[in-house]
Amino acid sequence: MSSSGMKTEKLPGWNRPPVIDTDGEGELLEVAMGPHHPSTHGVFRMDVVLDGERVIRLKPVFGYLHRNHEQLGQSQSYLASMPYTDRLDYFCSLTNNWAYALAVEKLVGQEVPERAEYLRVILAELTRVQNHASTIGFLLQEMGASGTPLMYAFREREKILDLFESLTGSRMMCNYMRFGGCRVDASPAWLEATRKVVAGLPAFVDEFERFLMTNEILMARCQGIGILRPDLAVNAGISGPMLRGSGVNYDIRKIDHYGIYDRFKFRVPLGDHGDIYDRYMVRMLEMRESISILNQALKELPGGPVMDPKAKIRNFRPKPGEAYGRIEAPKGELGFYLISDGSPNPYRYRVRPPSLINLTVLEDMCLGSNVADVVLIFGSVDIVLGEVDR
């Protein structure tokens, strides 16, 4: 549905989690799921109150991985924060780099050369493919298909990480983008290898999609569970595949046209029901669109420098002012908010973490469902704790 149908009379508390009544038999059981639970994707705790099997209340507890990333960013120069952004969402370091570079480029009015923009798009879409593939792999893992389907995803992810390694020198902590371009140029051999990997991706997606399309157990456990209403999703600031799984057409690549996304033809997949299944299906379809963007970008990739020769690197002191730069990261809207006071360090360095804000509605989605579904609903949010706790 479109978000235009939201202009209805809103009672106070409409966007709060509902109160679930107990059945009045037996005692309530309080369970701490996590922090060392294999399904929590890291160190994260959910304090769940159960009435039998039903979830009555759920409170997420954060902070186990908190290292005050923002304070670190404020105590060092702009460029020195670039490798730290890799550690936010360590699955998608390249999109983190891009978001940060974009915010700084907005702050100083820096242009980016054509070839660097294309390389950024290629790397960001490769990141999206490997992130979504792993997420779906984790879903199957959590549902009890131990090992094998996840390894299908990781096999493909490995190919993409090899590409990252040969271009940037690191598989996960890429530290590749700079203010005004990229650190190193891609060689023709790398581009050839990338074309080969991208050519193999549709076959992988076809094969992988069969897990979602034909598996009866998966459908029974995912469809109609963990429903997120579109009006609540918008009000709670949900972004990324989770928002689109609820049917709200909002993709920052289409809205902001940051970088050069206005040059590529791609569609924005939307869900109908906003349940777990739709969220995963949206990710599956997004992988196909990413492959289409990759093919277009690899075909059109121009020559030229990858770094603006006029970009200031030494003595980098932005003039006083502020900027908010955001991109469509695989997990949602990743934004960086920077305030400069003219000194070499940012006065304020803020990360808008999509993983944390997408967890706002975790309680709403889990209430009333069985405790076994909590694991799947939580997995469908797709979070990385490095970004949640910062």
Partner: protein, 223 residues
């Protein structure tokens, strides 16, 4: 989309008594922001969300900013009466002297909200609120009842900056543990002395070890 001046005019027309100030942004991106007075913030926020033309239904980013107390040294011209001998006769003469005076401008904590519209596909509109000072007047109204996405982010500001959001449904620390006392994102935050025993201290660690030892001897820190 409307410019910030038009949005300011629209807010002032819709919400009676609201004080809105445009805060210019000198960066090339020129995303100017609107400073809202805390008293009317809730109605202003509801207006921004429900207005047909603005329809800012998506609150993307909420963050705090800390501005320290500033000491400003000003040169002020002061006239005063000075007795001086003019042509051998003692006379009172008015004289203008420059004097340096110091004045403390109280700092404040600021909450910054980045709003977008999903239905109209525009944004950002940036609104800010400021506290009275950094110590005892740190209350601001919570905008969580209007936009749920502020729930965790306002908790984070409460935790790391120490702004108390009135009307927040669940205002607790989010990243630090409950017993923690200070606000680590404040600019005058001092790290606690949490020195751990090192068998072979050297360089900086040696210095810290010696400082810690001295503190323990003075009874200021625990072993």
């Amino acid at each position: 989309m409307k410019s910030v001046e038009e949005i300011k005019a629209a807010i002032e027309a819709a919400v009676h008594g609201a004080m809105v100030t445009v805060i210019p942004n000198p960066a090339p991106i020129a995303q100017h922001s609107l400073l809202i007075d805390p008293e009317h913030a809730h109605s202003v926020a509801e207006f921004l969300r429900e207005d047909e033309e603005l329809a800012l239904d998506f609150l993307s980013n909420v963050t705090g900013v800390d501005y320290l107390d500033k000491e400003i040294a000003e040169k002020i011209k002061v006239t005063r009466q000075v007795s001086k001998a003019v042509d051998g006769v003692e006379q009172m003469i008015e004289e203008t002297v420059e004097e340096t005076r110091k004045r403390v401008v109280p700092g404040y904590l600021e909450a910054v909200y980045h709003l977008f519209s999903i239905s109209k596909k525009h944004g950002p509109v940036i609104i800010r609120m400021r506290t009275g000072n950094r110590t005892d007047q740190v209350e601001l109204p919570s905008l969580t009842p209007v936009w749920r996405s502020a729930e965790f982010q306002e908790r984070e500001i409460f935790d790391l900056f120490g702004i108390v959001f009135k009307g927040h449904p669940d205002l607790r620390r989010i990243l630090m543990w409950d017993e923690f006392k200070d606000h680590p994102m404040r600019r005058d935050y001092v790290e606690p002395d949490d020195f751990e025993y090192e068998p072979t201290p050297h360089d900086e660690v040696l210095k810290r070890a010696q400082e810690h030892k001295a503190k323990v001897a003075a009874g200021e820190a625990r072993q």
